[in-house]
Point group: C2
Chain length 342, copies 2
């Protein structure tokens, strides 16, 4: 069944049916009603592919995620998807499972005109490819980004956030502060590590090189890195961990080692996942507006797709230091994620 069938039944031309569907204002009221009635009667559904082919618009965006099972990303993804949908766009999911080469596979969808634009939550490909890509297609970076490229980007100020949370540890009296990072190959790893270093330096605190351990996102990894820190001669009294997942692992490692958080070792995380506020000790962390980052990124992409010029390319979202128990400066007990906000 196709448009011509509807047209025949309604005694109009296919063009009119098409108009009813896409530019209803151009059609006389009665004709329109007639056509709509027939459409419903026959339960006609336009073939989107034919339409996309003709208009050369797929109304589809690609979202490339490094790991969809991480709560942080799935929340951002939801923000993107929701916004896209509201604006009549579909989302093709590209989970790279942390494999760089898979980024490129997904991106082929742009070159092959399947998707009109992309939001990248991971951008590990080389700078030239990315530059080339963004010169040809609307692309927005979210969370991760790349320096020196003129690509619209949505993220928090990771350096400043990392500095803030490290400084909080310093303010409550810590001097030997370690950092479980995500290697500096990832821009976020680099930024958060830099923030940590800045905070330490500006307070004239030395950083023992072995205090900086490189983890790999997940709970287990946080556990393992913490075990290393615990084994040190010159053991730190506080640790700033790259993200909440690893921070949870770290806390567990401390407990398993017979020590207490925060009394013996303070630990702070990053991201403010739901579970960070649920387990004792409640975790001090940096809140990122995950859903909003997704929304904003989708919003920017949609604007690019409409050809709207974007003056401010770097959108910095507001983060928040959430002080709870794990840093050793907890003020009063509150239930369910409510906490003193700074």
């Amino acid at each position: 069944m196709q448009m011509r069938d509807v047209a025949k039944r309604a005694n109009v031309s296919p063009a009119t049916v098409s108009r009813v569907l896409r530019q209803p204002d151009l059609v006389k009221k009665e004709t329109k009603e007639k056509v709509i009635q027939i459409i419903n009667e026959l339960n006609y559904k336009p073939n989107m592919i034919a339409s996309q082919f003709r208009t050369r618009e797929t109304k589809t965006i690609l979202v490339v995620v490094p790991d969809i099972t991480r709560p942080f990303f799935s929340e951002v993804l939801r923000g993107i998807e929701h916004t896209a949908l509201q604006n009549g766009y579909q989302v093709i999911l590209g989970d790279t499972e942390n494999r760089i080469e898979r980024e490129k596979e997904y991106i082929e969808l742009l070159y092959r005109k399947q998707a009109e634009g992309a939001v990248l939550l991971t951008a590990r490909m080389d700078r030239d490819s990315l530059k080339e890509l963004s010169s040809q297609f609307p692309v927005v970076l979210a969370c991760e980004y790349m320096d020196g490229l003129d690509i619209p980007t949505v993220s928090i100020d990771n350096i400043s956030s990392a500095r803030k949370v490290t400084e909080h540890l310093i303010n409550v009296g810590h001097r030997k502060i370690a950092h479980i990072s995500k290697g500096t190959d990832v821009i976020l790893g680099k930024d958060r590590q830099r923030g940590y270093q800045q905070a330490m330096m500006s307070h004239d605190l030395p950083i023992n090189p072995s205090w900086v351990q490189e983890g790999d996102y997940d709970i287990d990894s946080g556990y393992k890195q913490m075990v290393k820190l615990l084994a040190l001669e010159d053991r730190p009294t506080a640790v700033f961990v790259f993200n909440d997942e690893m921070a949870l692992g770290s806390i567990k490692a401390v407990k398993d080692h017979g020590l207490r958080v925060p009394e013996d070792i303070a630990i702070v995380g990053f991201d403010n996942l739901p579970m960070a506020s649920f387990f004792s000790p409640y975790m001090t962390t940096i809140d990122q507006p995950k859903y909003e980052i997704g929304q904003k990124a989708a919003d920017l992409l949609l604007r690019l797709l409409k050809g709207i010029f974007i003056k401010r390319k770097k959108i910095v979202m507001k983060d928040e230091l959430i002080i709870r128990e794990s840093c050793g400066f907890y003020q009063k007990e509150q239930l369910f994620g409510e906490a003193e906000k700074v």
Copy 2:
């Protein structure tokens, strides 16, 4: 740039270029090499939409998920996506955010020929719609399902799993066992509740109606329902919770109430999320092979798409009772999710 440009440059017809791309065996070696060279030279990328239009195949499947931020689903989703990709299919993501009406919106993509088939991780629409849908398009249900319909389905045997875990509680000596469920409007809620009832009945244990509380998936909800149970005159000594998230909330409620798990109240969960094996007390739960469910569902769908007849429509995946600490019968401490398996 299009195929004809490549053809011209290579002194062949567009049809030959098309064959090089799609049925290379039909083309003489030299011609093929020549064409490929030109393709690379010009960096030609075929227009997928035109191709899809012509062949009437989009190589795209739709995955409808009730809530992408829940770890259980994102793991299943990954299994689906991975398998789809391996077989040259793309995935359009449909996150309904638990709104039934949004299921239908996504499903329109099938009627409009955008997607060729669908995996539904949620099926709350009315039976007739679903029946109608599956009669017209390849559809596979995963996790949730609907009784009495001849639709391929992948899941564990929820009734038996629930019975198993409840019986374990009985075996370690509990008699007053409560259940925090997900209302019986959802088939999984019904099944797990039934398994619980079966176990209780077959051991002649009475169920106090107020022992069955209806939660809503997340940690907070588990907390709240547990608070209710704790307030009962006739307080249960053990609780079987619908899923791990709510079980974590329940455990927290017990602790906040000044009681211990499992000594005062035993708690068991369902799903075996990574975090279930990480927080003390380590949680006894039912392991579902999440990734494999996704793989299998995608696999079935792909077979349907190829027109292969599927004899066994109901695939029951193997679950596993993972005994850890929270049920009060922990045997020996093991790190990182390793536990006694039954």
